[in-house]
Amino acid sequence: MDYAIEMLNIRKEFPGIVANDNITIQLKKGEIHALLGENGAGKSTLMNVLFGLYQPEKGEIRVNGKTVKITNPNIANDLGIGMVHQHFMLVEPFTVTQNIILGSEPKNKFGKIDIATARKEIQELSDRYGLKVNPDAKISEISVGMQQRVEILKTLYRGAEVLIFDEPTAVLTPQEINELIEIMRALINEGKSIILITHKLKEIMEVCDRCTVIRKGKGIGTVDVSETNTNELASLMVGREVNFKTEKIAAMPEDTVLSIQDLYVRDARKVDLVKGLNLEVRSGEIVGIAGVDGNGQSELVEAITGLTKVKSGSIKLSGKDITNLSPRKITESGVGHIPQDRHKYGLVLDYSIGENIVLQTYYQKPYSKAKVLSYKEIFDKAKQIIEEYDVRTPSVYTKARALSGGNQQKAIIGREVDRSPQLLIATQPTRGLDVGAIEFIHKKLIEERDKGRAILLVSFELDEIMNVSDRIAVMFDGKVVANVKPEETTEQELGLLMAGSQVNKAGETSR
């Protein structure tokens, strides 16, 4: 058999934990090979071993049949292994070109970087694989999808034959995902081999040839994708049956909780990004906001939560005007929010889980009295939430930083839901989480709905929107252009609406 990469019986330990325990994965030349496992199963670790960032305690790595020792990324590069990391390895203030050439820069006679040559080469590569990146753009100014392509270009520029993608689609919009799949196919056509880590079983079914499953650091086995289905993959991975279609009874919406009228919001550059938006969310319903990233969703959420000033229009919560109140006032009026970026906005990573649980309520009774904190109350509360929301952490005193993404997310959701807000805004609540965790979170959202909360779900995952929402508001160019019911539409139709076509017709039909 012709293997591009073989990782045999790999063992990697971290203090107190065996992240990889005797795992084997073999990548055939020219295939796309999925690596599947729950959060914390050890996927990233395994790939970091292959890329030379970690040294395994045991095991053997072969490249094209030859045993190799990969002690640093340079060696991996030389062996033709490139990696697109889960958290992008891009230097933000640098341009695309600078990021790509970093570490292997072409030089001219005077020791100066030969940017022109580099740019040309990058342009060529970009054209060949249909990547469409602008070599002169700054990383901080391009979309996440573009950044990912820069990561891909980085590996291609270094002549990678084997590409590792660590959860590439977690951060992409559906459109971008489709484009990425096209790019991967183009890569395979050019003779490259790919290892793809993803939690999205549909993607595996769509593009992968084979799939290796790991669970809690142990290899479970490798299956041919053509001979399996998503249900089997899921149960292999989790070790039990997983329910995909979220069970729920029909919504019984009551009073209007959130009512937005003719909202205009500007971003930092003083460009209107929300332009005359109208939206209503009633108690007992989940309204999903569908839309391509960058159509004003973030600004909408920031406006509701008070993080950005509203230019004009009004936001009412159960009839009370909350437009341009401070974030704290808005929170106190009954808005809960699961933010998109949990590390930046959701948690103080250096605080313990317990302290994070009271991030909005620390100043209220019983967590503090007369400005003096009561740690007993705080940690009691934290223990209760950890219990209730199945947050896996050694203790409530553990720093949030040490928790896996899924568990961090569960803690945030627990915190927000526990406050019993009238309105719960969930932005990308399941990004990067495994199917088990996703199932749990969706169930929680629906439970809350059934308790009579109004829920606004913002997501780029059409699946999620279709599965969880009772009503879908499609956002395009700063406005809600359509209101549809999930059972009365298809992903295709939604996709078209999101792309802005038939704006008029859709707008008319939905009103």
């Binding site: 401070s326 959701g346 948690l347 991030l359 503090s368 003096v372 904190l373």
Partner: protein, 349 residues
């Protein structure tokens, strides 16, 4: 693991101090001095009799306070290089009130102390404000504010508090922290009640940071201002508050000098160094109130003891600066000490 951490928390500074002193001994040997004599002199200079003990305490007092000033700002992720200037204005304000007001002690003394704290707080307010509202780096502003404090204070001493004199008159007894009783039991050292204020301030800092919602907010903003903003905290307010409280501690340090040690303020031709030493004290005390007290004491002991070294052993006082610097290095590099300790433990097993 936790017990290990606690143990290391104590061991690391202790080992650092020991290595620092050993290094000092080596330097003395290399430069032709007798380390035993040198350290005997150091000891005598700091603890030799009741007088030196009194002076050691006196010297420790403002160091604790400037250490707290820097540590407090650090807790909010701010670097207060401006303790120096805050000390100076605090000193000025305290003496000013001590001179200008006629009131019974129960009013006068607290008022003078508060004036010092308020002046220091004000001096921290501007950098805090500029940082919070305009994002201007607090390090530059506090450095600039140090110079402004120095020159303006000199001007006020010369032209407002006196008529072209270099030293003001002595403050009223009702504003003085000095104590005949303390002095009499310490052979007329200048130890004064300020040490109680410094210890109380350390307690206050501990309480604010660890026990109150203010502390919770301040630390939260220091760790992650985005998340704090998200959670409804007023990030600007907390940045300003942190600089103001830090400044107030430094101002108190100045008040200690003005109301306790000297009873006057003089035109200064350079900085007092209390603020700069405060940075080292804060860092050595790992920015925690209790640590700052101990670090302040260590500084006080070494600096006071150093005075005896040239006369008794011919060793230049600067040796102590070298030792302190080395101790700070070792504490900062605790990683290597921890690593060595772990190795040691493993091999012992």
């Amino acid at each position: 693991m936790t017990s290990n951490n606690k143990l290391f928390g104590v061991l690391v500074p202790v080992i650092s101090v020991i290595i620092g002193l050993l290094a000092g001994a080596v330097i003395m040997l290399l430069s032709g001095h007798n380390p035993v004599e040198g350290y005997a002199a150091l000891w005598a200079g700091a603890f030799g009799d009741s007088y030196t003990i009194g002076e050691t305490i006196r010297r420790t007092t403002p160091l604790i306070l400037t250490g707290l000033a820097v540590a407090f700002a650090f807790k909010t992720g701010l670097f207060n290089i401006g303790a120096e200037g805050q000390v100076i204005v605090g000193w000025l304000a305290a003496v000013w009130v001590g001179l200008a007001i006629d009131a019974p002690m129960i009013i006068h003394l607290p008022l003078a102390i508060l004036a010092g704290a308020a002046a220091g707080g004000l001096w921290g307010f501007l950098p805090g404000l500029l940082k919070a509202k305009l994002g201007v780096h607090e390090v530059i502003i506090t450095i600039m504010m140090n110079y402004i404090a120095l020159f303006v204070t000199n001007e006020i001493i010369r032209n407002v508090l006196t008529e072209q004199e270099t030293t003001t008159g002595t403050i009223a007894d009702t504003a003085s922290l000095a104590s005949d009783w303390l002095q009499s039991i310490t052979f007329y050292s200048r130890v004064h009640y300020g040490i109680l204020i410094a210890l109380f301030a350390a307690f206050i800092m501990w309480f604010i940071i660890e026990r109150t919602t203010y502390g919770y907010e301040l630390k939260s903003v220091g760790f992650n201002s985005h998340a704090s903003n998200y959670a409804g905290m007023n990030v600007s307010k907390n940045i300003i508050l942190s600089m103001v409280i830090g400044g107030a501690f430094a101002g108190l340090a100045g008040a200690m000098e003005g109301l306790g040690t000297y009873g006057t303020i003089s035109v200064m031709s350079g900085f007092t160094n209390l603020g700069f030493d405060g940075i080292a004290v804060a860092l050595l005390g790992s920015n925690n109130a209790f640590g700052v007290v101990l670090a302040g004491l260590l500084f006080g002991v070494l600096k006071e003891g150093a005075g005896e070294m040239p006369t008794a052993a011919g060793v230049p006082t600067e040796l102590v600066d070298i030792i302190i610097a080395l101790i700070i290095f070792f504490v900062a590099s605790s990683y290597i000490i921890r690593w060595a300790l772990l190795r040691f433990k493993k091999e012992g097993k």
